[in-house]
């Protein structure tokens, strides 16, 4: 099962929690100090994507399954 991954750039503080957990799915854009999803993030382990979403300190990560089910809803 694939998923769409989105980061709310206004809310992200670049803690790097998602990068530490899943470096194949996220990276830090140091010029802006925020995390961005990598190409191919949607193909990563769904459980880890969900965990990254739940661990985000600002609830900035939204993960939506390919059938439209919202697995992690960003808070904003």
């Amino acid at each position: 099962m694939a998923a769409r991954v989105h980061i709310d750039e206004d809310m992200c503080i670049g803690s790097g929690e998602c990068v530490r957990l899943l470096p194949a799915a996220f990276r830090i854009d140091e010029s802006r100090g925020i995390s961005v999803p990598l190409d191919g993030a949607q193909l990563q382990d769904l459980n880890l994507l969900v965990m990254a979403g739940h661990n985000c300190p600002t609830n900035s990560i939204r993960v939506v399954a390919d059938d439209g089910t919202v697995l992690v809803a960003s808070a904003h």
């Binding site: 503080i13 803690s15 100090g33 300190p57």
Partner: protein, 425 residues
């Protein structure tokens, strides 16, 4: 000294509340920490009107806080953490302990402070001489004052703390921040003129603050705010580590009858040492009761919270919630089994946007559920500290009782902790 806002605004200094609401389970405390309507801004006055923490990242809220964290979090990336944990700290730790453990009986708490302050000062952006004990002791004295300032909501004599903090900021700025600032300003200018590559700029908080100071979103146009921000990182990087070292020893001494091997195991096994640190943080959070102010009407776990309410988050109770940590939640058990989603340190580093930026510095990376660690894993500086002290043969000193810090109601804090050193382990 108490100022109030004009019509329509929140009161600048919140001294009485529309309600006081306490949460004391793991899930409710965690939910509250993630709630964006709950802030740490109890005092919104200017520095000149009595707010000793005016503008520091810990009490900013919303867009300003996020912009500041984006800049400062760059100093907590894994590559920098590895440099500190694997290269810089082992040398500093060994050299200082050789000098400071100068007899059979010593007070371990100030030693923990001196060891911790070296790297905290470097990360903050100060240029002290790491081998000059007089400079390190001066920095520790500042940390002690700034720690009282950061806990002013729980101070027994807030006005005395305020006066002391004002005076100490001046001394800190004159003796340490200004020389470091001038050196960094010259380097940044050289970089902007094309004479210095960015890779040669210092890696520290003061440097990134000066680099980004023109960004209005981070609200650092006032020099005093830069000084206070630097002080915040110096204090935060020193105080928790020293207190946790001391609390870890206290818990291990208490556990001595049940686990006589615990200090030997710490000396031999860094993974176990890290789990001891996490268990210590869980049982003895340096901020036992986290406080928040409701900036607007909001709700946590179905409980309505009116604007200007005081929200008390009982971290001690949350960290011992049997629904999360099981029937042995009150016990000191570094080997406890937990699911990957539950932090071994509980809520002691906070959570949400204000989660402690230095969490991985002090505590390392989360321990995997199967306790296995790979080459990328970091154990945290406090694990290295307790391991070094355990290897040197630390023992309890029953003839000289430790002394808690009674200047604050935060009863997990120490002032003195005498220990004895026996044969090396």
């Amino acid at each position: 000294m108490v100022a109030t806002a004009e019509e329509g605004g929140s009161r600048d200094l919140l001294e009485s509340y529309s309600a006081t609401i306490t949460f004391d389970t793991y899930e409710t405390v965690r939910e509250a920490l993630f709630n964006p309507s709950l802030s740490r801004s109890f005092d919104k006055r200017s520095y000149g009107h009595g707010n000793i923490r005016d503008g520091v990242v810990s009490i900013t809220h919303g867009p300003t806080h996020r912009a500041r964290r984006r800049v400062e979090n760059s100093q907590f990336r894994p590559d920098k953490l590895r440099l500190y944990e694997r290269v810089l700290f082992p040398t500093v730790l060994g050299e200082l302990l050789d000098v400071l453990i100068d007899g059979e009986f010593v007070d371990i708490f100030p030693i923990g402070e001196l060891v911790s302050v070296v790297l905290a000062a470097r990360r903050a952006g100060l240029d002290q001489d790491d081998r000059a004990l007089d400079q390190l002791r001066t920095l520790v004295r500042f940390v002690d004052v700034f720690s009282q300032g950061s806990a002013i909501l729980d101070a027994r004599d807030p006005e005395a703390v305020r006066t002391l903090v004002y005076r100490t900021y001046e001394e800190f700025e004159r003796g340490f921040v200004r020389p470091a600032w001038d050196r960094r300003a010259a380097l940044i200018q050289a970089h902007r003129d094309g004479r210095l590559d960015a890779s040669h700029l210092p890696n520290d908080i003061l440097t990134v603050l000066l680099l980004h100071r023109d960004d209005p979103h981070i609200e650092l146009d006032d020099d005093g705010r830069v000084v206070r921000e630097t002080a915040t990182y110096l204090q935060g990087g020193t105080h928790t580590s020293a207190q946790t070292l001391t609390n870890a020893l206290d818990l291990m001494f208490e556990a001595g009858d049940r686990r006589p091997d615990v200090l030997g195991l710490v000396a031999r096994d860094r993974g176990f040492a890290q789990r001891v640190v996490h268990e210590t943080l869980r049982l003895r959070p340096t901020t036992p009761k986290i406080k928040r102010r409701a900036e607007a009407d909001t709700e946590v776990a179905g409980v309505a919270i009116p604007r200007d309410a005081l929200v008390v988050l009982d971290a001690v109770a949350g960290n011992r919630d049997p629904a999360v940590y099981g029937p042995t939640a009150h016990d000191f058990d570094p080997d406890r089994t937990l699911p990957a989603s539950v932090p071994r340190w509980g809520l002691s580093f906070g959570a949400g946007a204000h989660q402690c930026p230095g969490r991985s510095v002090a505590g390392g990376f989360p321990v995997p559920s199967d306790l296995g660690t790979d080459d990328e894993h970091l154990f945290g500086l406090v694990a290295l500290m307790i391991q070094a002290v355990a290897a040197r043969g630390v023992l309890a000193d029953p003839d000289h009782p430790p002394e808690r810090d009674l200047r604050t109601a935060r009863d997990t804090r120490w002032l003195h902790y005498p220990v004895r050193f026996g044969p090396r382990r």
